[in-house]
């Protein structure tokens, strides 16, 4: 087993030209590059405020819309709540495609389809988010504990109440957890989506790099890192408060 694993990695290394020699040959170039990139140039800060806010907005909006759409869709994709086998399979496949294709590729697709700007970015992240949250939520629905559900049903409650008091309380913490996680993830991706033209800080970074203004680019990367870390911390804080 171990020899097979080593063989696979050796083959991978050959295929991707990864080797210590290649690495040492590249080191001077990396060092040279670092020299161009530092010190970071903060003069571009004034132009960054709006893209930063735009990135945040893309992240929040897309997560909200995806969360709203994913909730009913997840019911169609869960084996115990899906109305029919065909619906179950087709929705599952659609969700898989939505989340299998990386968000950035969706961004590329929507930019080509409806033009540059943050609207394409929002759509891309919504599509991906519906796939991701939908799949996770459907799995949560499938693993609902039947005990409380049966208990409430035995009190003679209507179907709606069985759902509201039996199923709902079990999946809501998970649902909120997934939404928070993907808000963090979506803001991170929104920062990069600008690279394919979908608005936000990624776009200004792309412009800086295209004009070889490396010091400005380093500063923007720094800003990006700070933004993502801030959202990370905020999500962590919200998670502790709500769940």
């Amino acid at each position: 087993m171990v020899t097979a694993a080593i063989a696979v990695y050796w083959w991978s290394a050959r295929g991707t030209e990864v080797s210590l020699a290649e690495f040492t040959r590249g080191l001077p170039a990396i060092w040279d590059m670092l020299g161009h990139m530092f010190p970071p140039d903060p003069s571009i800060l004034g132009e960054l405020w709006w893209p930063m806010i735009e990135t945040l907005q893309i992240g929040i909006l897309s997560t909200m819309i995806a969360a709203i759409i994913a909730f009913p869709v997840a019911f169609l994709a869960a084996a115990n709540t899906s109305p029919h086998g065909i619906v179950y399979f087709s929705v599952r496949i659609i969700l898989n495609v939505f989340r299998g294709v990386s968000e950035i590729i969706w961004g590329l697709f929507f930019v080509v389809a409806i033009g540059l700007g943050s609207f394409a970015g929002v759509l891309a992240l919504v599509v991906f988010g519906v796939g991701a949250i939908g799949k996770l939520l459907s799995e949560a629905l499938e693993s609902v504990d039947p005990g409380p559900v049966e208990a409430i049903r035995s009190t003679g409650a209507s179907n709606w109440r069985v759902f509201l008091y039996g199923v709902f309380p079990q999946v809501i913490p998970l649902y909120l957890s997934y939404c928070l996680y993907y808000w963090d993830h979506n803001t991170r991706q929104a920062a990069i989506l600008g690279f394919v033209g979908a608005g936000g800080i990624g776009y200004t970074l792309f412009v800086s790099l295209s004009m070889y203004e490396f010091e400005q680019a380093t500063f923007q990367i720094l800003v990006m890192v700070l933004l993502i870390t801030a959202i990370d911390r905020f999500c962590w804080f919200l998670r502790r408060r709500i769940i």
Partner: protein, 270 residues
């Protein structure tokens, strides 16, 4: 006051508590709606534009079908490259992430200052999006899969390092005490006490990161770092949409297969 009056008082406070909770829910909902409107305004999102854009999406989708099959032979090498990039990008970091996480964890690190510094390094590695790493490395060492592997490696060292040190810190101190009580030195405590306990969580995180890297390696080609992302970008730029959708289908297949393999390994090993 007699016990009946006291019971009545209890009922009233319960109702008040409910009203308070409802008020809080209503305010949160209002706040969320406000944020929604603010974000929609900023990104230019509105329903008429959405409906207006749908025909464009439909037209693009039509131009993408049927998928071009004649380009399949040309796509074999990039596909294999993508898979290889993901593999290496998950395995090479293991050699760095495990020792770094041991340093970064407060219960196994040499000194809190060193631990926190290591954490900052790990955090920076994982917060910079892998696409940006790839971009920088392509600018430095040129096009190809090599910078792609490096980019994934850097990002994954940060990511796995963080999961690992969180797992190490979550080890029950009683286990550590038990091993220490046998007179084992520090290294043996780590090897026999801490690592076996965190191993399931570490393997789970590693498998998850392999899935993540697989998806990431499909897009690194966007900046020239190899794999099928490169073929996809070129197809889009040259308006060869049927070829682009072939690439997309291959990407979905790669991701689905790896997800299945990962789920199987997860069930077997953990």
């Amino acid at each position: 006051m007699n016990k009946h009056q006291q019971a009545g008082r209890g009922t009233v406070s319960v109702l008040e508590g409910q009203r308070e909770r409802r008020l809080r829910y209503a305010l949160t909902l209002l706040g969320l709606v406000g944020v929604f409107i603010w974000a929609s305004w900023g990104t230019g999102f509105n329903v008429p534009k959405l409906i207006g854009g749908l025909p464009h999406v439909y037209r693009l989708a039509c131009r993408m079908l049927p998928p071009a099959t004649e380009v399949l032979p040309r796509l074999v090498k990039p596909t294999i490259e993508t898979i290889q990039m993901a593999l290496l990008g998950t395995v090479i970091p293991l050699f760095f992430a495990i020792p770094l996480s041991l340093v970064a964890a407060l219960n196994t690190g040499p000194h809190p200052a060193i631990s926190y510094t290591t954490r900052i390094v790990l955090n920076t590695l994982r917060t910079v999006p892998e696409l940006i790493w790839a971009l920088l490395l392509v600018s430095a060492v040129g096009l190809g899969a090599f910078p792609g592997v490096l980019a994934l490696t850097l990002h994954t060292i940060g990511g796995l390092g963080k999961y690992y040190y969180e797992a190490i810190e979550a080890v029950d101190p009683k286990v550590i005490e038990a091993v220490e009580a046998t007179g084992a030195n520090r290294f043996k405590v780590i090897w026999f006490g801490i690592l076996p306990t965190c191993l399931p969580v570490m393997m789970s995180s590693t498998l998850w990161y392999y899935e993540y890297n697989n998806r990431a390696s499909t897009i690194l080609g966007l900046v020239g770092a190899g794999g099928i992302g490169l073929a996809l970008t070129h197809a889009f730029q040259d308006f060869r949409y049927t070829e682009a959708v072939t690439c997309l289908i291959i990407i979905v297949l790669i991701v689905t297969v790896v997800d299945r393999v990962s789920a199987y390994l997860r069930a077997r090993i953990i």
